[in-house]
């Protein structure tokens, strides 16, 4: 995750609303180790594999986040409609997206456990947009998130949007997660 305020650049992968954690990482795949360096790559392979084909990579659909046989995605930023990450508390959801290469998500709203896991685990940054951009932005568009001026630039379409500042979780995001934040504040002993 980008722990500083540098711009986040990359290709968009666009999804609809209520993308729940079973679509992000189907339950059958929750068995792999997140620690083993080889086994954890399977999470990249299966990230977003539960999304129905027609809804995966909008507007056309039928696009997988990671190509068959690969564990890394060519896409870096997810753009989704409302209530991204609803459903279960599985931290494997933000983890699998990070393992696939996702750096940030842009959505008007998130389910709270997914949002919290993304921030506390330091996996990726869940940015809130002012409006639903999932119809405007197309999968494959080149995006750039400016964390200083709170804007999202779509270089492919030559458009710019405002996004919300991170608010009360900014300190944890910029620390890189809850443990780093707690160490900086003396709540957990330094290593």
């Amino acid at each position: 995750m980008s722990k500083n305020s540098e711009p986040i650049k990359g290709k968009a992968f666009v999804l609809g609303k209520n993308i729940d954690t079973d679509q992000i990482i189907p339950a059958a795949h929750l068995v792999y180790s997140l620690e083993d360096p080889e086994e954890r790559k399977l999470y990249g392979k299966y990230a977003l594999s539960g999304v129905p084909a027609s809804e995966s990579g909008l507007p056309q659909g039928n696009t997988r986040l990671t190509k068959d046989g690969e564990t890394q995605s060519e896409f870096s930023i997810i753009v989704a409609s409302d209530n991204f990450g609803c459903g279960s508390s599985r931290e494997h959801a933000p983890a699998c997206l990070e393992i696939a290469g996702i750096k940030a998500i842009i959505s008007p709203s998130y389910a709270r456990i997914f949002y919290r896991n993304s921030v506390d685990g330091g996996f990726l940054i869940p940015f809130e947009s002012l409006e639903d951009l999932s119809k405007d932005i197309h999968t494959g568009d080149e995006l750039e998130i400016d964390q200083v001026h709170h804007t999202l630039k779509n270089h492919t379409q030559n458009k710019e949007y405002k996004i919300k500042p991170l608010g009360s979780v900014a300190d944890i995001v910029h620390a890189g997660g809850i443990f780093e934040y707690a160490r900086q504040n003396g709540m957990v002993p330094a290593r």
């Binding site: 209520n18 729940d20 339950a27 068995v31 209530n83 599985r90």
Partner: protein, 437 residues
């Protein structure tokens, strides 16, 4: 101005006189629960962050209940239970309910109250979104991820943003004979949407609450997460107290909302006006009445899970299934081993419940989460193809019970049982009225 029950619990556990919605506070944790899916990664993070020789903050406050992928040949799933077993031994944990032993329980959210861990006024976190179930006991309970769980294991604390509270007021002195708590919560989720309570508390109150048993209340709070809620909560009363005292000797302090507490919103429901409800594929808020869907095609019926696999759920199903043969593949999965034993001993017209289900042609599974969340491909009852299932579980997004080509209707055990008997979606009032006559 007063505080809500949730605000009071969070204030007390963060050492403050009062808190307000939006405040970020660090709370002391009374109970941390984890299971076989999220326990192993949480344990990995705990050791990485606090050291290989680190000990948990309080071994009497950590509860480990394997329940998700238990009866499977999946080597990774079985390896994960081994990870829990090794950690429980290393940390000398008194509350580990190991697979294959007499202490094995099954579904964590039903096992927690059975084992006395759901005490009014306390703070409980669990690595599972349905941890909100425990709010039925007047406890602050919510789901968290692996990192947060590892943080609690090492420190006994966690930060919480104080939620606003939505108040759901129930009018009525008893549930109509055809209505179950599942119908009430499906109606509410259908009304406010799957993000209708995001970041908020859902407090269930009003005179109607007295008509609800602990198991009914657990069904309501269990599905608070299906509306995006942070927690669901019911004020404790004599029903709560009787249940908790029958399960634990530990003291607890009952907490109530102040009369002048400030709420985000108030929503009124009268039991008498409510009817059997169904959530259609593929969202828990895709509501319809059972009557509107009468005759819709089904392949399978499933009764189980933390929300729909309690003893009262099986009693309800047995009322309708008794004396009939099921026309669908019908799966019965008790949430816990205690409930499984009760199915053998509880009778209806002299016949054990388990016999009623067997004679009707139902398939009986072992206590666990089973197919509620799909799981490994050999999971009991899993939807592996394009099956259309009516289920007493709590979630029906694409692929929730297995294949993303499958479809899941959510409904009360009455409605699931009635549909199992006829083979199509059926309003249970048809059967309930026959029973009365």
């Amino acid at each position: 101005m007063g505080m809500t029950l949730t605000e009071k619990i969070l204030a007390k556990h963060s050492g403050k006189d009062r808190v307000s919605p939006g405040d970020n506070v660090w709370v002391d944790v009374d109970v941390l629960m984890t299971h076989d899916v999220c326990g192993p990664p949480a344990i990995g993070i705990f050791h990485k962050q606090f050291g290989e020789d680190a000990k948990v903050w309080d071994k009497n406050k950590l509860v480990i209940i394997p329940d998700h992928y238990i009866f499977t040949a999946d080597k990774y799933a079985n390896r994960n239970v081994d990870v829990l077993r090794a950690f429980a031994a290393e940390q000398d944990l008194p509350y580990f309910y190991d697979v294959g032993t007499d202490s094995y329980k099954g579904v964590c959210h039903v096992a927690l109250p059975e084992e006395g861990f759901t005490r009014p006024g306390e703070v409980l976190f669990g690595t599972d979104s349905h941890t909100c179930t425990a709010g039925a006991f007047g406890q602050f309970a919510t789901g968290i991820g692996n990192t947060d769980a590892a943080f609690i294991m090492g420190t006994g604390k966690l930060w919480v943003k104080v939620p606003e509270t939505m108040r759901f007021v129930f009018e009525g002195t008893s549930l109509p004979p055809y209505l179950m708590a599942k119908d009430i919560i499906l109606q509410i989720i259908g009304d406010i949407g799957v993000d209708g309570a995001t970041y908020r508390t859902m407090e269930f109150t009003g005179p109607g609450i007295k008509a609800l048993t602990m198991e009914d209340r657990m069904t309501l709070t269990n599905m608070a997460i299906e509306a995006g809620g942070k927690n669901g909560v019911v004020e404790p009363d004599e029903i709560t107290e009787a249940y908790v005292k029958s399960r634990t000797d530990k003291p607890f302090e009952k907490v109530y909302s102040d009369p002048d507490a400030k709420y985000h919103s108030e929503h009124f429901y009268n039991f008498e006006d409510m009817v059997p409800m169904v959530a259609k594929p593929h969202s828990p808020d895709n509501k319809a009445t059972a009557e509107e869907l009468e005759g819709e095609y089904l392949d399978r019926a499933y009764i189980g899970s933390c929300t729909g696999g309690k003893l009262s759920d099986f009693r309800a199903a047995a009322e309708i299934i008794r004396g009939n043969k099921v026309k669908l593949d019908t799966y019965i999965v008790p949430a816990t081993t205690e409930i499984a034993r009760a199915l053998e001993t509880e009778t209806m017209f002299g016949i054990p419940l388990i016999e009623i289900f067997r004679e009707a042609g139902c398939k009986i599974g072992n206590a666990s989460c089973a197919a509620c969340l799909g799981g490994p491909s050999d999971t009991f009852g899993r939807l592996n193809n394009e099956e259309v299932c009516i289920s007493s579980t709590n979630r029906n997004y694409p692929g929730r019970m297995g294949s993303k080509q499958s479809q899941v209707y959510l409904a009360s055990p009455y409605t699931v049982a009635a549909s199992a008997v006829t083979g199509v979606i059926t309003d249970p009032r048809v059967f309930i009225q026959q029973t009365v006559i």
